[in-house]
């Protein structure tokens, strides 16, 4: 990545650094601070900076130097993608869009003083704050599992190293061993994600460990694209995958990371790899900012503003907004509505009506892609689904291959929409 003087490495003298940033700035230029440089945060920072052409000062606070997408991380497990191809730097956002990228954690929000406190010390003042911190896990939601056990039983539900760890464990499974997944309860990020993961793990095992078994322990009666996945599994991986739904104890599960066992409805089973995807809540900083209610941050659909504070907007997985699934596509879509509204509020630019869309692709096997998508609009109460489509069971190979090719195009599209094209 290009080291640019506006990319702050560490946080020494952050406040001073920002004020001394080289852009010539009129007195009183409004300041937008974005917490989290993921699908929601990177997009909103880029759109505000791009469209305001210097009229708004944008600071992006993100601890990591490179963002590894969760989307397509399952394809890495199935060896359809290299991990390197999932990493993206913030260099273009800083260099070409003039965004102040601060690599640090936000640890506090003072809503009266309108400042964000950083882990490395110092505060950053804002006129509007946008929070897109993704998810955190709910302690104790899977009995026997805690974050301290994430190396023995990885979640691999945040991008990067956890995914690599899970892959290494799968590669080391004994022949004929068992891969178990504890699937999460609703709502969680990426509704088809766990089942795409099962498909990709099965794809990998079919080649290197064909007698291995996959066990899904699921607290949910139903899941997204279920008919498509189940038909695909029967087609590509006959006999390998077993799913235990709540009727058979899928909701009554505990794990023992030291003994590497799972207990379902009282019955103990030894497993070789255990992917625990716990229940989720908004990223911790949303709670710290005092804008959550229960596990999520409620927002107004028209501009993604917090229902608790009109100077704060929330995007992506952390929000409680209505009908949109928690996906990268959704976060990116919400970010553009929010960028338009925030620009309007701070500079008087035209505010156009909110409109949202989502499409989630999943890969079931080689060249076997499926998708589900919908459009949404803002009502007074929520983001409401208007129209949608889903792939059909029994589509031709050509259609499935074209769907997979589209998903590759989408990955290029959304990542350049988030980070700008270098």
């Amino acid at each position: 990545m290009t080291i640019n003087r506006r990319v702050f490495l560490g946080s020494v003298g952050v406040t001073a650094g920002i004020l001394a940033a080289p852009m010539v700035r009129a007195q009183g230029t409004p300041r937008v601070v974005v917490i989290g440089g993921g699908a929601g945060g990177a997009t909103v920072a880029r759109y505000i900076a791009k469209d305001s052409e210097g009229a708004i000062d944008v600071t992006l606070i993100e601890p990591t130097k490179a963002y590894y997408t969760c989307f397509f991380s399952n394809l890495y497990l199935g060896e359809f993608r290299e991990m390197d191809s999932l990493g993206h730097s913030y260099g273009t956002l800083a260099a070409d869009y003039g965004i102040n990228v601060v690599h640090d954690w936000a640890v506090g929000v003072d809503r009266d003083a309108k400042t964000v406190a950083l882990a490395g010390g110092g505060t950053v003042p804002y006129d509007r704050l946008i929070i897109s911190p993704g998810i955190d896990f709910i302690d104790g939601s899977v009995e026997g599992w805690s974050l301290a056990a994430q190396n023995a039983m990885p979640h691999a539900y945040k991008g990067g190293s956890q995914t690599e760890l899970l892959k290494a464990q799968i590669m080391n499974m004994p022949q004929g061993g068992t891969f178990a997944m504890v699937a999460p309860p609703n709502p969680y990020r990426c509704p088809p994600g766990p089942y795409e993961r099962v498909s990709m793990v099965a794809h990998l095992l079919t080649q290197m460990n064909p007698t291995a078994k996959i066990l899904i322990l699921d607290p949910k009666e139903k899941f997204s694209k279920q008919a498509l996945f189940e038909a695909g599994w029967a087609d590509h991986y006959a006999g390998m995958i077993e799913r235990i739904d709540p009727d058979f104890g899928g909701a009554d599960v505990s794990v023992d990371p030291a003994a590497m066992t799972v207990t379902v409805d009282g019955e103990v089973t030894p497993v070789d790899v255990c992917n625990v995807i716990p229940a989720m809540k908004a990223g911790h900083i949303a709670e710290v900012a005092g804008i959550t209610e229960g596990n999520w941050a409620p927002v107004n659909a028209a501009d993604m503003s917090s229902k608790r504070d009109e100077n704060i907007h929330v995007l992506g997985d952390a929000t409680q907004q209505g009908d949109m699934p928690k996906s990268g596509f959704s976060a990116n879509s919400q970010a553009k509505v929010c960028a338009n509204a925030v620009r309007g509020a701070l500079t008087g630019s035209t505010v156009f009506p909110a409109r949202f869309a989502n499409t989630c692709w999943s890969l079931i096997g080689t060249d076997d892609g499926v998708k589900v998508g919908a459009t949404y609009e803002a009502t007074e109460e929520k983001i409401a689904k208007v129209d949608g489509f889903i792939s059909e069971v029994g589509e031709s190979r050509e259609v499935r291959e074209a769907t997979y090719q589209e998903s590759i195009g989408w990955y290029e599209g959304i990542t350049s929409d988030m980070f700008g094209k270098a």
């Binding site: 469209d51 309860p185 609703n186 709502p187 509704p191 607290p219 949910k220 009666e221 139903k222 899941f223 997204s224 709540p246 009727d247 909701a251 209505g322 009908d323 949109m324 699934p325 928690k326 596509f329 990116n332 879509s333 553009k336 338009n340 035209t350 156009f352 009506p353 409109r355 869309a357 989502n358 499409t359 998708k371 589900v372 998508g373 919908a374 459009t375 949404y376 609009e377 009502t379 007074e380 109460e381 929520k382 409401a384 689904k385 208007v386 129209d387 949608g388 489509f389 889903i390 090719q405 589209e406 590759i408 195009g409 989408w410 290029e412 599209g413 959304i414 350049s416 929409d417 094209k421």
Partner: protein, 226 residues
Amino acid sequence: MFAGVALFAAPAVADVGGDVTRGERLYEQCSGCHQIGEGAVNRIGPKLNLIFDRPAASIEGFRYSNGMERAARNGLVWDHPTLDAFLEDPRSLVSNTRMSFRGIKDQTDRNDLIAYLRVFSDDPQNIPEAAPTAAPVDHEVAPEILAIVGDPAYGEYLSGECTSCHQASGAADGIPSITNWPASDFIIAMHAYKDGVRAHPVMKMMAGRLSNEEIAALAAYFEDAK
């Protein structure tokens, strides 16, 4: 058996389809025969959980009339339009149904009641393919926005919906480029999706909710986009 609390959103949210709180009151006309919500069981009528997207007469263990069974064989699936017709006049949709109910004549009452029933079906947040909660309506664009139609600024805003997939730079990997097309070709392609002449599901959906003016604004923007 069914999953319990987690399945159901709290019946507090209304949406453009109708007023859930009013719908809950109107449901008193049904509650003598039908249970709904956590722990619901079949009574005189079948339980109404997960009614949306469900084929008629498909609750196991409930004895339906021959009329309802026949309607089911003919492909009746419950969604907003079919529920609306059934609740307006049960016998006109399903001849010889055993549901003896006179029907609800007022459209707003039916909308509100259906919005209430919708709460107890799958939530699109978790199952994105679940039935819509909003009725498709033509976007009502405020007059001051209509006045700027054709303004590439509006096209630029709308283009945000496209650049999640179509790269702004014009690069194409798996999804075609739409940057710097002559406006007239662009308009023809978009109308081909809107009218269903080109059948691609994503693009039919995206184009389907764009007005003619919005397509023109997008064409103007993409023609000169850098």
